[in-house]
Amino acid sequence: MATVSLRNIKKTYSNGFKAIHNLNLEIEDGEMIVLVGPSGCGKSTSLRMVAGLEATSEGDLYIGDKRVNDLEPSERDIAMVFQNYALYPHMSVARNMGYGLKNQGLPRDEIRRKVEKAARVLEIEHLLDNKPKQLSGGQRQRVAMGRAIVRNPKVFLFDEPLSNLDAKLRVQMRIEIKRLQQEFATTAIYVTHDQVEAMTLADRLVVMNGGKVEQVGPPLDLYEKPETQFVAGFLGSPGMNFMPARIQGQALLVQGDHRIDLPDMAELAQWDGRDITFGVRPEHLEACSEAEADFHLKVDIIEPLGADTLLYGHLPGSDSLMIAEQPGKRRYTRGDVVPLRVDRERLHLFDAETEQRLNE
């Protein structure tokens, strides 16, 4: 029910550590923004500044039209779901969910009504009288969600809310969160370091690195057109293959001697002779006939995943690992040499020095 604006936000911790350099972000009403990035890149710091748990060192923070820099967390009309859920262990589920409302001075039965409604949505009605320790991980997660929902805040904040769950539950709760956020259409900021979670949940993704924003945009845009080598490498599993290359006319010379002709890529001419990093995702390396092959992969390890098969190997005469993902049917054996062709539409060129994207 509100936009959120971060304008020139900076954060320096009391020990002098600059955690956030200059953060600008305009979040639309009802949008789900996911902050993603490696550990220590400043995701939590950013989120906690929005929550008011951490003071901003510089810049302005707006929720709706109101500048909230100097408001207490409770006055910002936000709700937050913590990684460890932060449920009050001594209160029942119902009291946990109602605690914020109680502090707002709402009458008892209105609290009860709201709590019950939220519990119904989350299917935890039968747990309302339980204490947190009597709940499973997934149930606790739901209660933490419930506590956020029940207050009907302007903004939901999530700090890695799923990382304490096991893989199966994580997938399940991820879907649940998505469903709820869509249902309530509340603005949400979601922090995770898991790129799958980020991709699947985000309306827009903010990839952060070392206190700076690398790229912002819808997940598939970032996946398909990463602006930097960092983003390209961060998104996708298994990660993109990177190889040093040089541009020679309308072709790339990858790792010295593998030539890839790109007659259709007009821009190439302007970078003639330049050293670049060539990137291609494992799924864009397709097994092909000998004739069409760009590379010959000597397979060291085969990982049959059922639907797909991952081939780990190296190019003859090179040490660096290359990964190719093949759809499921064919069976490989160790030591196979597989001819592979790069999908011409899906290759990525990065400046070797700036690591910025070159091609469109």
């Binding site: 929550a51 008011g52 748990l53 207490e72 967390p73 409770s74 936000i78 709700a79 937050m80 913590f82 990684q83 460890n84 932060a86 009050y88 262990p89 001594h90 605690y99 914020g100 502090n103 707002q104 320790k133 506590r147």
Partner: protein, 293 residues
């Protein structure tokens, strides 16, 4: 389950246990049995004559106002020691919990009294309250009150309570502080987002979460006040004035070693053992419960 990690050795464990078992048997089990046996006897001081009197010693005790007084004194004393020691410690811990600068210095300056023997603490406080020359008695005199713990029962009680509680503050403080620091930050943050201010947070979130520790400390402090403060009383009030500070343990000692009334002393030992066992069981029940927490 530890069921797995077992070394298959038949005799070794007995060797390992032997020293502890021998000492336990000789110095704990045997005397306890002895106490039980003696509690059924009346003996003269030198042990020349003894008569088996069944439960007479117990009957005598429980029909003696003095014994009941001693029970009352013990409970009042323990309650006051536990309560005052814990209250001060909680206050200090709450203050120290969120202090960032100088936290370790504060801690260091607060924990050393633990190392002081109760009897030593008692002697120093006794001096400070000395009606003729004590600084605190003097302070009380300037406030218009004539302090005299030789005569005034409440004042004598106050001195022994203060001396005993003083030493326990460190202990309680350490536990409360550890307890507070174990509370996840996010819980406090969640409460802040939920709109509760610092005082409300303390009473509604922090304090309830400390309650298991508080309960544990209550038991520990009561046990301490029951049994470990003998020196405090022995070095100062000797149970007086009147019988105002004669705790159960002091009475066991007095009747046994001063009065040389072995039967009564043994009977009191037996009663005390039952009491300690009860307290310990309570404590263990609670620890078991807390483990699941």
């Amino acid at each position: 389950m530890h069921d797995n990690v077992v070394f298959n050795n038949k005799v070794l464990p007995y060797f390992l246990l032997a020293p502890q078992l021998v000492i336990t048997l000789v110095f704990f089990i045997w005397p306890a049995g002895q106490a039980l046996y003696q509690s059924f006897l009346i003996e003269d001081a030198f042990g020349f004559s003894r008569e088996f009197v069944w439960l007479d010693n117990f009957i005598y005790l429980f029909s003696d106002d003095e014994y009941w007084n001693s029970i009352r004194v013990t409970f009042v004393f323990s309650g006051l020691v536990a309560f005052s020691g814990m209250a001060v410690a909680l206050l200090l811990a709450a203050m120290a919990d969120r202090v960032i600068k100088g936290a370790t210095t504060y801690k260091t300056l607060l924990i050393w009294p633990y190392a002081v023997a109760p009897v030593v603490a008692a002697v120093i406080w006794w001096l400070m309250f000395n009606p003729s020359i004590g600084i605190l008695a003097f302070l009380s005199w300037t406030l218009g009150h004539q302090w005299n713990h030789y005569v005034n029962a409440n004042e004598a009680m106050a001195v022994v309570v203060i001396a005993s509680a003083w030493k326990q503050i460190s202990y309680n403080f350490i536990f409360f502080l550890a307890g507070m620091q174990a509370i996840p930050r996010s819980l406090i943050e969640a409460a802040a987002i939920d709109g509760s201010g610092p005082f409300k947070r303390f009473w509604q979130i922090v304090f309830p979460l400390l309650s298991p520790i508080a309960f544990f400390l209550l038991v520990v402090n009561v046990v301490y006040a029951f049994f470990e403060t003998f020196g405090v009383i022995h070095a100062t009030t000797l149970g007086g004035p009147g019988n105002a500070t004669r705790t159960l343990v002091y009475k066991v000692y007095e009747d046994g070693f001063v009065g040389l009334d072995m039967g009564s002393s043994a009977a009191q030992s037996v009663i005390l053992m039952i009491l300690v066992i009860t307290l310990t069981i309570i404590q263990f029940k609670f620890i078991e419960r807390k483990v699941q927490y």
